[in-house]
Structures are given as C-alpha cells and as structure tokens.
C-alpha cells in the first residue's frame, strides 16, 4: 500500500511552518501510524534530513502522550483509538493523510507535531485532587462505595489527558478534561468535602489558561479515545453552579500560566 503523508513542519514557534508531502510504503496493515512515521524518520535521517518530531511513549493508548490531527480529526478516523493504536489497515491505497499538531491558544506550539500541554497540569494543581496526606487515612473498606458509583467515577477517571478534546473543539474548550476530573472525584465520598471548592478553582484555572467556553457541541466526546461521556461537563456545570454560590465569599486565584522552559537553574 502506498500513501502520501502531508506533515506540518515547523522548527520552532518563531519560524514559519508549512506542509511537506512524503510518499510512504506500508508493508502490513498491522503497522501503526506511529510506526509509519518511524519508518519515514529512518529514511529522513539516512538522507541527513531532520526527522519529524512527534510525541509518543507507551504506544498502548494509555499514557496520553501521542496525538495529532489526521485529515482534520483528532487521533484520526477510528473512534475510541489513540494514534499509537491506529493501524494502517484503516486507510486506502493512494490516500493522502494530512497531519498537523493540536491547535489551541492554551497549547503553545513547540515543534512539528509537538505542543506544550502544561496547562492541563495546572488545572489539576488548582484542585484536581483529594487533600489527604500519606498515612492519614482509614481502612479501605471503611466507607462503602456502591458499584454503580465506583463505575461512573471510573468512566470519568479513564481520561488520559491527551488534549484531543481541546483540539477538536471549535472553541478550544477544556471542559471535557476538567469535567472528567471533577466527576471522577466528585462522585466518590472521598472527594465530597472539597467538591465545591474544586469546581470553582478548576473552572477559574481553565479560564485563566485561555481555553474557550463550552457550547455543548460534543466534538470532544466524539474524538475522545477513552469515550469520556458528555455528562462529565454537565457534572462540572452542576458542581460549579452550586460551588459558585456556596463559595461566593472565597477569593479564587488562578495559577499564572507559564510558557518558558526555565526552572531556576544554575
């Protein structure tokens, strides 16, 4: 099978980028899209050209490192599949695959298909946890959690933080990512004490990062490799509404977004 990969090449945020077309040959349908890029990169390296920078790590669809657009769809055409698990058998001989990075104001560009997703970490920092320190806990079975609640929490907790939801959203909203964490923790009794504060702070951080607002389009859940349900956003809105009223006297401060790569080194 012969394909053409049209890949966004851009050396750094300051330089001008463009699509470059590369013909590739695919020996076997079981090959993944990333393995196809590996083979292309081997060829480029042998020719002395710079390989295409793209992110990947576990290649099992769980670490959330990989991801870019293929023909305008985040993670490509297969539902519930990250790009590392997308096999070439889903493409036809002669097809052109247009590959470009996630594009969002809150994901600053780095190189080729690589962007900076630290804004997601800051959303978690702002309240995406249960405030419990090591050691200060009761027995695991002390608080019963019904199977249905545990399952619903797990449905939301399955988020891998890849950023596809943001890339797919016409508004560049991070509502599905943020809602998934609010739902994961808010459904469980362990997360209840901080439910109000968590929603208010995480939403404030999401806004401070420059993510857009949610207008219930649903592209996010459509491309989500873990099929996080849209109800996570409903849960976020619910918790936010209640929290904003109950916490109306609290001062909410967001963490200042950082885009540089200096960490106070000597």
């Amino acid at each position: 099978m012969k394909l053409t990969l049209s890949i966004w090449r851009q050396k750094n945020p300051g330089s001008k980028g463009k699509f470059v077309s590369y013909p590739v040959e695919v020996p076997n349908g079981e090959m993944s899209v990333l393995e196809c890029l590996d083979v292309l990169n081997e060829t480029l390296s042998e020719r002395g050209e710079e390989p295409v920078a793209f992110e990947h790590d576990c290649r099992e669809g769980i670490c959330g490192t990989c991801g870019f657009m293929i023909n305008g769809v985040a993670h490509g055409p297969m539902p519930a599949t990250t790009i590392c698990q997308l096999t070439m058998r889903h493409f036809k001989d002669g097809e052109e695959l247009v590959m470009e990075p996630w594009r969002s104001r809150a994901f600053p560009f780095v190189k080729d298909l690589v962007v900076d997703r630290r804004s997601f970490d800051r959303i978690i920092q702002s309240g995406g946890y249960v405030s419990v320190s090591t050691g200060n806990v009761p027995d695991g079975n002390a608080i019963p959690i019904g199977k249905d609640d545990a399952d619903r929490s797990m449905d939301a907790a399955a988020c891998i933080g890849c950023g596809a939801c943001v890339a797919a959203c016409p508004n560049g909203s991070a509502a599905l990512f943020t809602g998934a964490k609010i739902a994961h923790l808010g459904i469980l009794p362990q997360g209840k004490p901080e439910q109000d504060r968590r929603a208010v702070q995480m939403v404030a951080q999401m806004n401070a990062e420059g993510f857009g607002s949610c207008t219930n389009i649903g592209e996010c859940t459509g491309v989500c490799p873990k099929e996080i349900p849209l109800e996570a956003i409903a849960k976020m809105n619910h918790d936010y509404l209640l929290g904003a009223w109950k916490e109306r006297k609290s001062v909410v401060t967001a963490i200042a977004p950082v885009t540089g790569w200096e960490f106070g080194e000597k």
Binding site: V39, T87, V132, G140, N141, K147, M154
Partner: protein
C-alpha cells in the same frame, strides 16, 4: 568492597517498626532547609516526591515526559496485591511474604520482602482515600481477583487500568504539593549525570529537552525512581522513552548494579508482526484467570483454531502444572510457551505464538461477565490484530517486560553512594529472580509512600553535609563531561541511525540473553555487543543540533548506555552458573526441564562495580540468608 544491607536483627515481624524507631528524625522546622531531588515521576517517584513535600522538604521532581502523569507506571493493567484478606481465603502478611520470596526463586532479601507485604495493606487504604476508583462489589466493598503465582485472591484492580488509576492518585498528590509550593516539577528534562562530592550524592546534571540547555541542580540527597531497563532489548512492553540513563550514569559514578541478568519475560503479549515493529503490547496477566492456554498436539498444524477438535489440543500448562494450571508464575509460563514453539507447535503466521482461549469462560460465565472484566483488553487486542477474541482465541507470545535487577540498595533503599536512594523498578531489592504479577505497583508505592520518607530523613539527620556550590570542581567536571558526551554524539556524522543500532543490539540480547541462555551464546553475545558498540561510536548519524528538541539525540545518549548495560547483563548471566526465576541457563535444568538452582554456590546478590571504560566490572557478593522461608525446589505442580 563489603556490602552492609543494614537489615535489622530480631523477629522479622518487628524489624521495620524497630528500624523506624531507631531512625533519627528531622525537626519539622528544619525540613524546609533541606533540598531533595527526585528523578522520575512514576508510582515510586511521584509518591516519594508528594510525601516528602507533605513532610515539609523542598523537593525538585524531574521527568523527561511533558507531564509527570505520562510515566510508564500508567500502563500497568492487572492490579496491585495487598494482604488484606478481605476475601477470607487464608491470606495474611506472612503468606504474601512467603509467596513473594518463593516466587522470586529465593534470590530476594527476606527482610525487604516482609516489609513490602506489611506496607501492602496501607497502600490500598492510601489509594482509596485519594479517590482511586477500585472495582467494588454491589455492597460497596472492595473487589479482588486472583493473579499468577498465588492461590488466594489478593489483587485489587480498577478495570484493566490499575496502573493508570494508582499513578493518577500519586500524580494528583504530587500536583497538590506543587500547588502548595513544596515541590517544583521540572518536566521535559533528563538527568545525564550524578554529582558526587566527598563521596556523597549532592545533585544532578540535567538537560532540558526543548532548549537543549544543561543545568546543575544541587541537593542534600538524590532519589532515583527512573524505572527499569527492559528497553535494552529494543522490543519490550516498556514505553519507548523508558531508559536506563539515570541509573547507569549513577553506576558509573560508583553505585553498584545488582543482578542485572534478572529480567522478566511476560508470557502474554501480542506477537510480533513485522520488522518495523516498535514495541510489544502486553495483554494483562489477569487474562490467565479465565483464558486457557493451548497449542495443537501436532507439529505444524495449520488448521484454524475452531477446526482443531478438543482432543487434538494440548493445554500444556494445565497438563504439566495441575495445581496452578494457567496461573503458574510468569517465568514458568513464558518458558513453556517458548518450548512448545521450539517444538514446532506454535500458532499464527510466524509460528511464534500460543492460543489464549476464552470460549470455555464465555460459555460458563456469559459474554457480559467477560466483557466486564476484560472488555478494554479485548478491544485493544482487536484494534491491533483485527481479530475478535470473543470469537477467536487470542494469540500471545512472551515479551521482555520488567527488570528485577537494578541499582543495589540496602534496607534503607540507599545505594552504595551515601545520599543516593533508589526506588521502584530502578532498584533490585524485592523481587529476587522473578516478580509475581501485581507486585510492581505494590513495590513502587511502598518505596515511595512508606519507606523513603523515613529513611531519607534518617540520612539527613545523621549525616554531615557541607555546603556545596555550583562552582565546586566536581560540579564543573560533571557538567563538562556531559557537554562533551553530547558533542561527541553529534560529531560522529556516520551513516547509521540510532534505531538501527538499537534494533540490532536488542536482537542480540533477545536471542542470546532472553528466555534461555547458555555460556557459549553469552560469550558470543558479549563479543558482538562490543563490536557493535565500536561501530556505534564510529558510524552513528544524529541529525540536527543539540540546542533544540532533538529526539534522535535523546535516543542516541540512551542507546549508548544500553550498550554498556547490555554487556553487563550478559556478563552477569554468564557468571551465574545456575538457573533461577527469569534467568534460565540451559546447562542447569532438572530432568523435567525446570530451573535448577544452586543455592550453595549462587545464593547471593551479584553486585557489580564500574571500573572504567572497557574494563572488566568488579563483582561483590551479598550473601542471602533464609531464616523463615526455607529454599526449596519451586513447584507449581
């Protein structure tokens, strides 16, 4: 060198409690004066960094990924063991301890393993409190399942994503400390050297992978939690970025490397499909709870599996090991898969595969129950192979998965360099020659949440630590050496890519130092690794420069270390004239083909010291004593 493991004396049940009482404490007000470095943000690193931050230390935590949540602990599927005995099936701390020592084929320290079993129960409590959504019964209590190498159900799990959920728990605890200002998280940054001053670990040299800038970070103690070295074999279940550079460079600065040849081949992975293959995908061991493993009785039987009648199938694990059946430990399951494939009875196009069949389980329990337990694994299998495991048996084959060996540490998890602590898979301490399923998550979290926070404090309170500055000659020497190393890689400008070298190294390792090994093959492998390494330094081509994101350059540095470590793995395997756990030497087997240990001559930990480039490494032995679990021929029959 004499190794002192500092294992407490007295009854094993009280050892950890009395050790904790003996430890010196750091006054709460003084903790903020201490700077600590944690390298790695997986289960061990994130849990250690978060807990040390909670205690009040100033922590810097490094990871090479874009976020700490990406660490490869996230990919662990099946579960985490804990001796809770919630199932009332006879489990206890002592039994988990016993199973782990036996499962490790009597090459682990009893004291460490007992403490691990004790901590296991606290880990579950901690994770539940963090909001880890473990599987539950309808009544609301925690659910368990059984796992390889055990006859009790002690494995806690969150669907097939247990590692993900435990890591997110630790990651969230870590981010909470980042928000509190206790931990500074430094992502996309790779440790390239350890700074040792007056014999103590005092900092690291790191490279920012986006800007290429080198930086020096100083501290009172350095904690490495950088995972295992399975990627020496190129094809493995590890993440592509998993590497041994941090532990290897610490080894070159004086930390002994223990039992490098103890590597684990996982029995249930999706078979290789072609030369372009970049990694192997694990299918959780939990599948062996309900799947039955078989191959055709006849050699070269090319019929479809559904056309092979029951009496022409060989359920070889159930036949050979009736007591454990399909749930034998990983090393036994892997070796038997290789044996039937070597006989020519393997399945699939390459003949390197065996069936894992769910037909009986689906008939017994129904499709929905199976989907509930393994749905995401079945989906993953289908995505990759285009076959539906609800209808057609899975094809599986063993793959490199985990490394029991690692930097030598004492009971306090301190390496042979004072102030350098090593956690999780990066150390060698708890799994002996073979790790049982669902024990890696347990060890990572035990080390990070419940051991290091005590032992690092003890080290700080009982050591004299002078002020060090970046201008110190040792710091400048480490910085210069790192700069030169990078410049060298970029200057070769040869013809071959990093991956082509890595793939060839991996093939040598897999063929001659994989599931079974022999002296002649190992000697040959050592020679070929050396020759290939020489070619690497003559003929490597790294495109691009060192001052921006350059993934080829990152890989080149890591592969350079894999060459040296690969050779040490073979040297260790050659030196250990016995078979034990994952280390199977063909010359040493029982008449039934099982591993034949030699406790009299090899009942020790082999700790190797670095003696300079190209020199033979120096072996120091730490004898192992077994007071509680008497070494016996492991039997799962």
């Amino acid at each position: 060198m004499k190794l002192d493991a500092r294992i407490p004396t007295g009854p094993i049940e009280d050892a950890w409690d009395s050790a904790k009482f003996e430890m010196k404490l750091v006054n709460p007000a003084n903790k903020r004066r201490h700077n600590l470095i944690v390298v790695g943000s997986g289960l061990a690193g994130a849990s250690a960094a978060a807990t040390l931050g909670e205690l009040g230390y100033n922590v810097k935590c490094f990871c090479f990924q874009d976020s700490p949540r990406r660490a490869h602990s996230i990919a662990a599927q099946g579960g985490i063991n804990a001796a809770k005995n919630y199932q009332n099936d006879g489990d206890s701390i002592y039994r988990l301890f016993y199973d782990t020592v036996k499962g490790g084929d009597f090459r682990a320290r009893e004291g460490n393993v007992y403490r691990l079993a004790q901590n296991s129960v606290h880990i579950i409590d901690q994770c539940v409190a963090q909001g880890v959504p473990f599987a539950r019964e309808y009544g609301g209590s925690l659910e368990n399942r059984s796992f390889g190498g055990a006859q009790v159900s002690r494995t806690f799990y969150a669907r097939g994503q247990t590692g993900q959920q435990l890591l997110l728990g630790a990651y969230q605890a870590l981010e909470r400390q980042v928000d509190a200002g206790q931990v500074t998280m430094i992502p996309r940054t790779e440790m390239l050297d350890l700074i040792v001053i007056d014999g103590q670990a005092r900092g690291i040299v790191a490279r920012n992978l986006i800007t290429g800038k080198l930086s020096v970070h100083l501290a009172e103690a350095v904690i490495l939690a950088t995972g295992g070295y399975g990627n020496v074999y190129y094809l493995s279940t590890n993440a592509k970025g998993s590497n041994a550079t941090a532990i290897w460079r610490a080894h070159k600065r004086g930390a002994l490397f223990a039992n490098p040849c103890f590597t684990q081949i996982h029995p249930t992975c999706i078979p290789v499909s072609g030369d372009y293959q970049s990694k192997l995908t694990l299918m959780s061991e939990s599948l062996r709870n309900d799947g039955r493993i078989w191959v055709p009785k006849q050699k070269g039987d090319k019929r479809r599996p559904d056309q092979i009648p029951e009496d022409e199938r060989d359920y070889y694990l159930e036949r050979k090991y009736p007591a454990f059946g399909n749930l034998v430990p990983r090393d036994v399951a892997s070796r038997n898969a290789k044996a039937v494939c070597d006989e020519g009875r393997g399945v699939g196009e390459t003949g390197l595969g065996v069936y894992l069949d769910f037909a009986d389980a689906i008939q017994r329990l129904g499709v929905e129950t199976i989907r509930d337990s393994y749905g995401n694994l079945f989906d993953m299998y289908q995505r990759i192979t285009d076959e539906d495991p609800y209808k057609v048996p899975m094809r599986i084959y063993p793959a490199m998965h985990y490394t029991m060996g690692g930097l030598w540490v004492d009971y306090q998890l301190q390496s042979t360099i004072p102030g350098l602590f090593v956690l999780g898979e990066a150390n060698f301490s708890d799994h002996g020659a073979n790790r049982l399923g669902a024990s890696a998550l347990m060890q990572g979290l035990s080390d990070g949440y419940f051991i290091t926070p005590y032992t690092v404090g003890n080290y700080l309170a009982s050591s004299k630590l002078k002020d060090v500055k970046a201008s110190d000659p040792a710091v400048q020497a480490a910085l210069t050496a790192t700069e030169q190393g990078i410049a060298k890689l970029l200057s070769i400008k040869g013809k071959r890519t990093v991956d082509s070298f890595h793939r060839e190294l991996g093939k040598i390792m897999w063929d001659d130092c994989g599931m079974s090994r022999n002296a002649a093959g190992l000697r040959d492998a050592i020679g070929r690794i050396r020759a290939l390494r020489e070619e690497f330094w003559q003929n490597l081509n790294v495109p691009g420069s060192g001052d921006d994101l350059n993934q080829s350059l990152e890989k080149a540095g890591r592969v350079a270390d894999f060459f040296e470590l690969g050779e040490l793995i073979c040297i260790d395997a050659l030196e250990r004239n016995e078979s034990c756990g994952g280390h199977f030497r063909e010359e040493y087997q029982t008449p039934e083909g099982e591993a034949q240990r030699d406790d009299e001559h090899y009942g020790y930990v082999a700790a190797w010291g670095y003696t300079g480039p190209g020199n033979k490494p120096e072996l120091t032995k730490e004898p192992l004593e077994f007071v509680y679990v008497h070494p016996s021929q492991r039997s799962y029959k």
